[in-house]
């Protein structure tokens, strides 16, 4: 990092030996911390306490942990009942099953009832890998953000996931926290501020380009793919290819419209990046916002109306068009479109 970043991002951000941790681990740590701070925090799991890292909470607070078995619909509604009695329930399973299988229970018994249940969906995205398409949730952002009262958070790394979990434990809104299985780079640090609903500039080209004049393209990313966006932006700066500003959009709902509109104004062209279907996802949320307030050309990186399959995370991200080269192509495309207008 050339300059002291006011967000106090990981100083090893662009180094080869950057630390890696699974985002879900941050959830496990955050829930344990939240449990220590508030005895109303309870944990419910559908037979996946190890995979979702809820076992950390379970071991420390067995009397506040409910194992419901492989029954995600029950999981959601039992949590609703506990919340109605003053508890702050966290429910965890794979995102495919919660909020996938139990969507209506989440809509009716959690969001329509407007109770503070926190839904941790692990194993989101194609990077789940070898388990294949049945277990790769790439529709979860779309189906959660569409429900009234729901807050949707997609943390970029394990540290942010820990902070998001702890923050969610203090709010009264139903909240979905999207988690990934694989180890991914730690971009933030303990000191990086986090606030639900606040987007943050993780790469500002003026900090990296000597004779910086203007931003060419704004990139908005959510989840671990943010790291690929940062690397591409750095490469552009290092090689004099252009100036790319990158926003970390960890809260997808409520949307930080001010930050998005500001970036659209400044850059005049946007690329959105998410490990999710393009239809209905974070990019769609950006488009809904920008179309209303400051229309600019947008390119969308994500899965294009297809199901996942088995493979390594890297193979799958490349195959489905979410690799670094795809980001570069999208940047060039949107830049051309901007200049045509």
């Amino acid at each position: 990092m050339p300059k002291e970043n006011n967000l106090k991002l990981n100083p090893k951000l662009f180094e080869k030996d950057i630390e890696m941790l699974p985002i879900r681990r941050g959830f496990g740590d955050g829930l344990l911390e939240a449990g220590k701070l508030d005895e109303n925090v309870v944990g419910l799991c559908a037979d996946l306490s190890e995979s979702t890292q809820m076992y950390l909470f379970k071991e420390r607070f067995p009397e506040r942990f409910v194992q419901v078995g492989v029954a995600e619909q029950n999981l959601a509604s039992v949590a609703s009942g506990m919340a109605a009695m003053g508890k702050i329930p966290f429910i965890s399973s794979y995102a495919m099953f919660s909020p996938g299988r139990n969507w209506e229970q989440i809509r009716t018994t959690i969001c329509y009832n407007d109770v503070p249940v926190k839904i941790a969906g692990s194993h989101a995205g194609v990077s789940v890998g070898p388990d294949g398409g049945t277990h790769q949730a790439i529709e979860d952002i779309a189906i959660t953000r569409v429900i009234p009262n729901m807050v949707v958070i997609s943390p970029c790394d394990a540290i942010e996931a820990r902070k998001a979990t702890m923050a969610a434990a203090t709010t009264k809104e139903p909240t979905y926290i999207r988690l990934a299985r694989e180890k991914t780079p730690i971009m933030t640090s303990e000191e990086t501020p986090f606030k639900i609903g606040q987007a943050q500039v993780f790469f500002d080209p003026k900090d990296f380009i000597k004779d910086f004049k203007k931003v060419d393209v704004g990139v908005i990313a959510t989840g671990a793919l943010l790291y690929k966006a940062l690397k591409v932006a750095k490469k552009y700066a290092d090689e004099g290819l252009g100036s790319i500003k990158v926003l970390n959009l960890s809260t997808i709902k409520p949307l930080d419209e001010a930050s998005i509109i500001a970036l659209a104004r400044e850059a005049g062209a946007l690329v959105t990046i998410e490990e999710h279907q393009v239809y209905g996802g974070m990019g769609s949320a950006i488009a809904e916002c920008v179309a209303r307030f400051f229309p600019v050309p947008i390119e969308f990186i994500g899965v294009c109306d297809r199901f996942g399959q088995s493979g390594t995370p890297d193979e799958l991200l490349e195959y489905y068009g979410m690799g670094e080269s795809d980001i570069g192509i999208a940047i060039e495309k949107v830049r051309t479109r901007k200049n045509i207008f």
């Binding site: 029954a71 009695m85 229970q105």
Partner: protein
């Protein structure tokens, strides 16, 4: 204890509640008739005898909780709540109207005295299980056999279920968890009226043997005549006294009970009476089927 005098009062109240159900449904022009009429005796017993609650202080923290799972029978819930003093009886005429607190299916954002919103079938028991677990955590008796610990709240969670909605698998997920958690503070009441929207339950999707099903899921099971106030009240007392297991009361009811024309007919599950049918039904209720002369004729 339910006295003979008490039973007479409950009968009278249930009759008034049935009249309110008919009159609110005909005003609304849509809604369900058979289920609400069939459950009037049970709701009356709960709100006027068994439940620990205070209509003048609806958010009293120590109140019992009543979760209605089959939200479509809400006319009986609204009518019973109004008659017991939660809100004016006149407000019942706003059922299903724009801006009304009495939504077509219960929504607690609109009517805050409700414990839950419902309509989509099959998730009420899960919510009641969650409430009962929360209480067991609070009383530090979650893993123990007794609910009423020294710091315990002497409170019960009631869940009212339709029989048709037991087709939903989620009920059985909840039943397993209730049994696993030994929720002796949970009392489910199944409205066994044998009808659902497409016909008789045993034709649409057989539930029989229902008693054995609940038994095999580890619940304490009682079967009663859902129109016998003494049996209803006694079954609830027995359910309260039974430790170690959650209780279910299978209440055999007659859909449309109180109005001969509507009784036992699946076609009355999901429609309201017309004006003429409502007049006939109200006359029948006011005269107790012709046994007395009505003052309103």
């Amino acid at each position: 204890m339910l006295t003979d005098q008490g039973i007479i009062l409950l009968e009278k109240t249930a009759n008034e509640i049935r009249q309110s159900i008919i009159s609110m449904l005909v005003t609304a022009g849509s809604g369900h008739t058979a289920g609400p009429l069939g459950m009037a005796d049970i709701f009356t017993t709960l709100y006027f005898h068994s439940l620990r609650h205070d209509p003048k202080n609806p958010t009293w923290p120590e109140r019992d909780r009543l979760v209605l799972s089959n939200g479509h029978i809400c006319p009986v819930l609204y009518a019973t709540m109004a008659h017991s003093g939660y809100f004016p009886v006149e407000e019942l005429q706003t059922l299903r109207k724009f801006g009304s607190r009495l939504q077509g299916h219960p929504h607690r954002d609109f009517l805050p005295y409700l414990e839950n919103s419902s309509g989509p079938l099959g998730s009420g028991l899960s919510q009641a299980v969650g409430m009962a677990i929360a209480d067991q955590i609070n009383t530090k008796n979650r893993t123990g056999a007794e609910l009423r610990g020294p710091s315990g709240i002497d409170r019960f969670i009631y869940c009212l279920l339709g029989d048709g909605e037991l087709d939903e698998g989620q009920n059985w997920e909840a039943a397993m968890l209730g049994s696993k958690e030994r929720l002796s503070n949970l009392i489910a009441i199944v409205d066994r009226n044998n009808i659902q929207i497409d016909g008789f339950t045993e034709d649409v999707m057989p539930l029989s043997p229902l008693y054995e099903k609940w038994k095999s899921f580890g619940w304490h099971v009682q079967q009663i005549d859902g129109h016998n106030f003494q049996q209803i009240a006694d079954a609830i007392e027995q359910a309260k006294a039974f430790f170690e297991k959650p209780s279910v009361i299978i209440a055999h009811t007659i859909p449309g009970r109180g109005v001969k024309e509507f009784e036992r007919k699946p076609e009355w599950h999901g429609k309201p009476p017309s004006k003429a049918e409502a007049d006939m039904a109200l006359a029948e209720l006011r005269t107790l089927g012709g046994k007395i002369s009505s003052e309103h004729q």
